[in-house]
Symmetry: C2
Subunit: 359 residues, 2 copies
C-alpha cells in the first residue's frame, strides 16, 4: 500500500524527505564508502555528523552558550532517575506538578532519592486539564521544580510555564520539543525522547545548564551522571550513532521549513483545524478544554464506544492509522507532530465529517 497518514503518539511519522535521504545514503554516506551505521563514532566523518546535529539544534532552539547539549540513551524514563540523582544536592527536596502518568512516574522515581512536594495535580479528572498553580506553595529552597510540559496521553500542555525564580525549572518535553518557541534560558534542564519530533527511538536529547552538572550523589551510576557525558561530548561510550544522524536530518528539515517560528504557525493551524471541527461537531468532541489543549496530541470521543471502534476501523482502512486513544482515556487521539503535514489533518477532518454524515 502507499504511505499512510500516521497519527501514532510515538514512535511517530517522519518526513518522507528525511526517510528518502536516509534511504539514499544507507549503503554509502557521502564518499565514506560505508553506511552511517558502520562508522566508528570516533571517526572524522561521524564527528562531523554529531557536531552538525548539535549545532543545528542550538540554532533552531536558540540555546544559550551556558547550556550543554547531551545525546543520551534510555528515554525519559532514565531521566526520571538522572534528574534527582544529579540535582537533589542541596536541600534534597523538589517541587513537582502531576499532569499525567509520565509526571507521576517521574515523581515516584525521584521520591526514592529525596522529598518531592506535589504543588498541584489534575488526577481528579483523569489529567484532562493543566491545574492552576499557586505560587505561594512553591518551595523557595527546592533543588528543582519539575513539570511534564506536554502530556501525550491526555492531550494537555502548559501554555505558560511556572515562574520558579532561582529554582531550576526542569521540563520533560518529549512530545512537544521543537513544536513551539521556547525560551531555553528559563529552564534548568529540558529533555526529550527523540521518537516524536526529533527522530527514531533510542535517542534522548538533554539540554542542561552547565552549573547543574557535577554534583551527582555518590550512588549515581557513571552512565547516569550528566558530568560523564558532558565531559566527553556525549562520547563516553558509543552513542546511538544512527539515531543521532536521523535527528540531524530532522533538524535540517525543520530549518529548511523555516525553523521553529514557521513550524509553530503550521502546528497552530493544524491544531485549530482539528479543534474547530471537534467544537462544531455533533458526533465528536475534544476531551480537553481551553488553554490546557495540546497542539501535538488531540484526544477526542464520540461518547459511544461502539461508534469509536467503527470510526477507528474505517479510518484505518482509509489510510488514517494509529488513531486509537490511550486505554486510560479511551476514544481516539490524533498525534500531529511536526512531521504531520497540514494536508493530513485537513483530510482527516474531511473523513470525520463524512463519517459523521453517514452515521
Amino acid at each position: 500500500m502507499a504511505r499512510v497518514y500516521n497519527f501514532s503518539a510515538g514512535p511517530s511519522a517522519l518526513p518522507e524527505s528525511v526517510l528518502k535521504i536516509a534511504q539514499q545514503e544507507m549503503l554509502e554516506y557521502g564518499d565514506s564508502g560505508m553506511s552511517v551505521m558502520e562508522m566508528s563514532h570516533r571517526s572524522k566523518v561521524y564527528e562531523s555528523i554529531i557536531n552538525a546535529c548539535e549545532e543545528k539544534l542550538r540554532k533552531v532552539m536558540n540555546i544559550p552558550d551556558n547550556y550543554k547539549v547531551l545525546f543520551l540513551q534510555g528515554g525519559a524514563s532514565s531521566q526520571f532517575a538522572m534528574i534527582p540523582l544529579n540535582l537533589l544536592n542541596k536541600t534534597n527536596k523538589a517541587d513537582i506538578v502531576l499532569t499525567g502518568v509520565w509526571a507521576k512516574k517521574a515523581y515516584k522515581e525521584a521520591s526514592k532519592y529525596g522529598e518531592m512536594n506535589v504543588i498541584a495535580s489534575s488526577e481528579d479528572k483523569t489529567f484532562s486539564y493543566i491545574p492552576e498553580l499557586d505560587e505561594s506553595k512553591f518551595n523557595k529552597d527546592a533543588d528543582y521544580f519539575y513539570i511534564c510540559s506536554n502530556n501525550t496521553i491526555y492531550g494537555t500542555r502548559f501554555k505558560n510555564f511556572p515562574e520558579t525564580g532561582n529554582v531550576p525549572l526542569i521540563a520533560d518535553m518529549s512530545s512537544e520539543i521543537l513544536s513551539r518557541k521556547i525560551d531555553v534560558s528559563k529552564f534548568g534542564v529540558i529533555f526529550a525522547g527523540a521518537q516524536k519530533n526529533m527522530g527514531p527511538a533510542g535517542l534522548t536529547v538533554c539540554i542542561i545548564r552547565e552549573d547543574l552538572i557535577g554534583n551527582a550523589m555518590d550512588i549515581t551510576p557513571t552512565m547516569f551522571d550528566y558530568k560523564t557525558h558532558s565531559e566527553n561530548g556525549s562520547m563516553f561510550n558509543t552513542p546511538p550513532t544512527y539515531a543521532i544522524y536521523i535527528c540531524k536530518l530532522m533538524l535540517d528539515w525543520l530549518d529548511e521549513m523555516g525553523g521553529i517560528d514557521a513550524m509553530e504557525k503550521i502546528n497552530e493551524e493544524k491544531a485549530a483545524t482539528l479543534y474547530n471541527f471537534l467544537d462544531n461537531s455533533k458526533m465528536f468532541s475534544a476531551t480537553v478544554e481551553g488553554d490546557s489543549r495540546s497542539i501535538m496530541n488531540i484526544p477526542f470521543v464520540t461518547g459511544n464506544e461502539e461508534l469509536d471502534k467503527k470510526f477507528i476501523a474505517e479510518a484505518t482502512k482509509a489510510g488514517f492509522v494509529n488513531l486509537k486513544g490511550h486505554r486510560s482515556v479511551g476514544g481516539m487521539r490524533a498525534s500531529i507532530y511536526n512531521a504531520m503535514p497540514l494536508e493530513g489533518v485537513k483530510k482527516l477532518v474531511e473523513f470525520m465529517a463524512e463519517f459523521e454524515k453517514n452515521n
Copy 2:
C-alpha cells in the same frame, strides 16, 4: 567511491545484504504503509519484529528457556552498573579478572556498590594476554564472577571460560557474541553492545538467567533494574525500535549463513589467514600470542611508528579502512567481525604482502 573494507572496532561493518533490505524497506515495511522507524512499538507489526528478533537469537545461540532475552539501551557501560546493582545481593562481594580497559571500568563501577576481588590481571603487559586463573583463589561465596570474554582493544579472548561452580559467571561479550559457539547455560548473564556483531549502536542485548532477576538494591534506578525490563518484555518504555529491527536482519543473515557453527568456521579461517601471514612476515607481527589470541580483533605492528603510519595511509587509500590501532597499543588493528567476508581478509593480506615487498 565504492564500499570499502571496513575494519572498524565498532560500530563496524554490516553485511551489504542487510543494508540493502533496510534500504528497500526504509519508506515502507511490508504493507504497513510506514518505515519501521515510524511504528508504534506497541503495534502488532512492530511486535512481530521484536518477537522474531528474540526468537532468532534464541535459535542461533540455543538459549535455554530459563533465560530471559532483554533489549536494553546504554551500552556495556550501563551494564557495568546494572550487574552489581542487581546481583550484589547476598554477600555483596564478587570476583573479577582484569583483561583490559573495559574490565577495569566494570571493576571500578562495581566497586562503588560492593567488594570486588581481583582474581588475576594482565595489566603488567598492557593486557596482551589472558592470565592463568588459580581456581583456589575463587571466592565460593561471591555473588558473581565477572569477565570480559573478548578484549577489543588488545585482541585477546578467553579461549575457555573459568569454571565457577555455583557462582554465576557474567560475561561482557560485546565484541565476540555470535562469533563462536557458546554454552549459554554456563553463564549467569551474557551481555553485548550490538554495534559489533549484532547491528547498530544504541542497542544492548542482555541474556540473563531468570533466578538472577528481582533482587536489585533499593537505590537501583527503575531503568537499571533487570526486573523492569523482564516483566515488560523490554517494553517498559520505548525500546530502540530501529536498532532491534536491524539486529533481526543481522540474525536472519547469520541464520542463512548456516548459524554460529558455520560462522565460527569462517571466523577461524579469517583469523588464521591473518595470523599465519603475521607469523611469517618479516615486517609485521601480531601483538598477542597463542591461546590468548582473539579471532575478532587482531592487533599488529611493524615495530616502526613511521612505517605503521605509512602502512595505514596506503591501506586507507586502497580501500582497507579503520586499521589504526587503539592509542594504548599503537600500530594497527584489524577487527574482523562476522560481517567481514573472508575475501576482505585475503585481500588485506595480499595488500600487506605487497607493502612488505615494497618497503
